[in-house]
Symmetry: C2
Subunit: 299 residues, 2 copies
């Protein structure tokens, strides 16, 4: 990560610290036999990851002049969903990964049953956070957040994309199919991060066009960059096993386009994403920095 600008680095560090503190408060270890469950959740949720999703919520909240606490709480809810999905995706019956964020995965550090329950628990906690009046005093806002997160996480979003990914093993997959898969698997949740700022800011649908266009381009650029990292990155940088997609014979943007065209495509998408923000001033600074960072992070 040679080229993270200082201002972006400062925002990332602040959001990361706030997310860690938030999970620390949300997950106190009880004095009964559920201790192992809470320790497993803490293992997965605290002290790791780039916290890209809470950072995107913060950036979208900047654009719509939303306060710190609501944005942080929505960021925590989305990160809880993201972490639950990583715990379940790492299970032996899914991707069978031993290492995540440079540490043993939950089923390795604990056991499979605890990993299933830790994922399920974080899933429920995400909705508990959003339903709490602390997140936003307006129940219409809370219900819209809840409805959109449920869709983004479920079978018409992330879980559906994960199923497509399982079914794609070894199959002939073209660019349209890979794009559709990624729009569900990672794009739906990233889209919700950016939509959340607009929901928190009471922005009506016609005021959300720029952020939605940004969101589509960014989500795709992010996934292409992820595929590039899987081919070019080192396990040291990514904190997880690399080259797995290629080994599994999975179609990715890189296998379909080649490294050079995939990189060019990601850069075009980032330029487009930033272009959608042209009507905005400094309130879009963080969104612009994140878009640039997405394709630079593996260099």
């Amino acid at each position: 990560m040679g080229v993270v600008p200082l201002a972006l680095k400062a925002s990332m560090d602040r959001v990361s610290a706030e997310v860690d503190q938030g999970f620390d408060r949300l997950l106190p270890v009880p004095g009964d036999s559920r201790a192992r469950l809470f320790e497993a959740m803490r293992h997965a949720a605290i002290g790791g990851g780039k916290r890209l999703r809470p950072l995107l919520v913060r950036a979208s909240a900047d654009l719509f002049h939303v306060d710190r606490v609501p944005a942080l709480r929505v960021g925590l809810a989305i990160e809880a969903i993201h972490v639950y999905s990583l715990i379940h995706d790492d299970l032996p019956c899914m991707d069978d990964d031993d290492v995540r964020r440079g540490r043993p995965t939950v089923h390795k550090a604990y056991d499979e049953a605890t990993a299933v329950l830790a994922g399920d628990s974080l899933h429920a906690i995400a909705f508990e956070i959003l339903a709490d009046p602390e997140t936003h005093p307006d129940p219409f806002v809370r219900c819209e957040l809840l409805a959109e997160l449920a869709k983004a996480a479920g079978p018409v979003g992330m879980a559906g994309g994960q199923m497509m990914d399982l079914m794609a093993d070894g199959a002939a997959f073209d660019l349209a199919a890979v794009t559709r898969l990624q729009q569900l698997k990672t794009g739906a949740l990233i889209g919700f991060c950016l939509e959340a700022g607009a929901i928190l800011g009471h922005v009506p649908p016609e005021g959300r066009r720029a952020i939605r266009a940004y969101s589509r381009d960014l989500g795709l650029a992010f996934q292409i960059a992820d595929d590039l990292l899987d081919v070019e990155g080192s396990a040291e940088v990514t904190g997880k096993a690399v080259g797995k997609d290629a080994d599994a014979g999975k179609a990715t943007f890189v296998s379909l386009l080649g490294v050079e065209r995939a990189r060019q495509q990601a850069e075009i998408l980032v330029d487009q994403a930033i272009g959608h923000l042209a009507a905005h001033g400094t309130e879009a600074t963080l969104l612009r920095s994140i878009a640039r960072y997405v394709v630079e992070r593996d260099r």
Copy 2:
């Protein structure tokens, strides 16, 4: 099931049919590679089970004069949570069950990865149902339902109870510990079924005392009856493997109290549960019938 009164049987059949129709509408099979995911959800969610939880919501809704559609939608949300928990509990790394409701479990009929994702998908759909204005026009009501369901399903409720159950394998467990475990594992969700009628009916906390007292006694009676079924029932009646708890050396109400005292305790709890409804008239008929049915169902 020798002694289900006709009126209760009619209510059970009506609720069962409505739940099946509801899931059929909520889970249309898409024309892409997610078809297998939706088929797995339909396999688990449609055409089986006693639908006790949606029936309890209906009974609580009767008490507080709540309409059919809101009660049915809340019942569907809770049943979606219940079904997801069965899918995950049946996994090889958890209880490793091959048969459920007389049919192969999801990981046997499909595979483990699909079972994990089908459970996760139903989990998300439960919250999507509650967040939808079709469930109730008042967003305060929807948020209260969402907050309470998230708590009842998560680590301070069902998932936490399941963890206690995993940790209890073979350990020395007394009556207080088994009671606490069951209050979380099954009691929290049953409690929410009954609370939901009050929430839908805008009933303030002071008007919920009778239903809460009923709920505590019923939940415990239900679990004792379940333990009795595990010892005395046949696989034909229960639709799942029996004698598993005893084989696993798990402490249950029956292993701690013996069959006769456990049955007496369940009957006392049912009488108590019905006693809490003394101030109510015919609007509590279904609640009374269900309480009696809970201890009679295995005879």
